[in-house]
């Protein structure tokens, strides 16, 4: 059987992590191709509902990443985001959503190598966890069978 290839969605801010991932590219650092980046202006814009939607639609893992504290292009968007993440993650944990599948990180525009490391580490850990069948089971309407494979 072929190795399980997890679907990973990355929600990143435009100014730090998106630029950091650009740097990974210009530095030609290779990383796993399972991740798809969605660009936001700021981590402050990332709606927690979108994270849930990603799981709904079949993501096996999620990366959320932005500027390091004090480095936010908008001064404090990431501080607001951090506070929300703390509460959201705790609520996920409480409702039994697997928080091991959501990786939060700070990746600056200068941390191309760190971006590759984050992606690789996430892909590795999600691969070990396997497909998020638990969520998928309830996500699709009953008539649709989840097919993985």
């Amino acid at each position: 059987m072929a190795e399980f290839e997890p679907k990973i969605v990355a929600f990143v801010c435009n100014w730090c992590t998106y630029a950091g991932a650009d740097l990974t590219g210009t530095s030609r650092i290779k990383y796993a191709s399972n991740v798809r980046i969605i660009r936001f202006p700021c981590t402050g814009r990332i709606d927690y509902m979108l994270l849930l939607k990603a799981f709904d639609e079949g993501a096996d893992g999620i990366i959320v990443s932005g500027c390091h504290p004090n480095d936010c292009h908008y001064t404090s968007g990431n501080f607001h985001a951090r506070r929300r993440w703390i509460m959201f993650r705790s609520l996920c944990n409480f409702t039994g959503i697997d928080t091991n599948r959501i990786k939060f990180s700070w990746v600056s525009a200068a941390e191309g190598a760190k971006w590759a490391d984050i992606v690789n580490a996430t892909v590795k850990s999600i691969r070990e966890l396997g497909p998020y069948t638990e969520y998928k089971k309830v996500a699709k309407y009953p008539e649709k069978e989840v097919n993985h494979g």
């Binding site: 951090r82 929300r84 409480f94 409702t95 700070w106 984050i118 996500a139």
Partner: protein
Amino acid sequence: MVDLIKRAKELIESSSVKVVIGYEQGTGNKTRALFVENSEDADKLIFDSRCIQNLAAYITKKEIKEKGKMAVAATLPVMRSIIQLASEFQVTDANILVLGITPESKLIEFGNLAEVEKFVHQYEIEIDVRNKEMLDKLEKMTQPERWQFWIDELAPCFKCYACRAACPMCYCSRCTVDFNQPQWIPVPSTELGNLEWHIMRAIHLTGRCIDCDACYNACPLSIPINLLTKRMLLDAKEHFGGYQPALKGEHLMSTYKPDDKENFIQ
């Protein structure tokens, strides 16, 4: 509650307020909200330990607000709700008079919301023992067990939104569930839709919920959805030192501290 009836009559007769919101005997052994608009109705006012409905849920209702200034027979949770609503610009001294009922069932009339705030701040919001035990029990479960617990608990929910209607903080004219461009939350009461609805509600109440249990009391299926907000209450305390509704308070989730601590961001 002779005092309450007497005061309600005076207020209505003197036209100081247009409506007094309190409790009356309902069907069976239940009490229900009473809206006193003339002095005869005031005789129906009662107050006892069964009066747990959060009357603050009515004060943001258009139909009530239109009547003019209101007085509310407010227990501690109701007073907390009023302060929180005031901090969110939903109620002001101009449109409310608080007839406070202390935890000792004494009537105190407050001159203004600042006095209510002062009174409310004497008491900390505390989660009762039974729910605390439940929270501990859930905490000790494994993640898949907790998942199953909630999937099972929420399975019977048919999205009647009684929880939303009973909650004083759910005064939004358009709730996220009513938003359909995009359709954030699936309309049918599927397992997923139920879960998302309750997660969303808990997040929206984080930093605002004053733990009155109105949602749980209103739920026709007695789903323990109040555990979600209770958990958020405890987490707010653990991570950010907790919160109290305050007229000029800093709202927990729309503010931050540069040194907020977490241990999961890499």
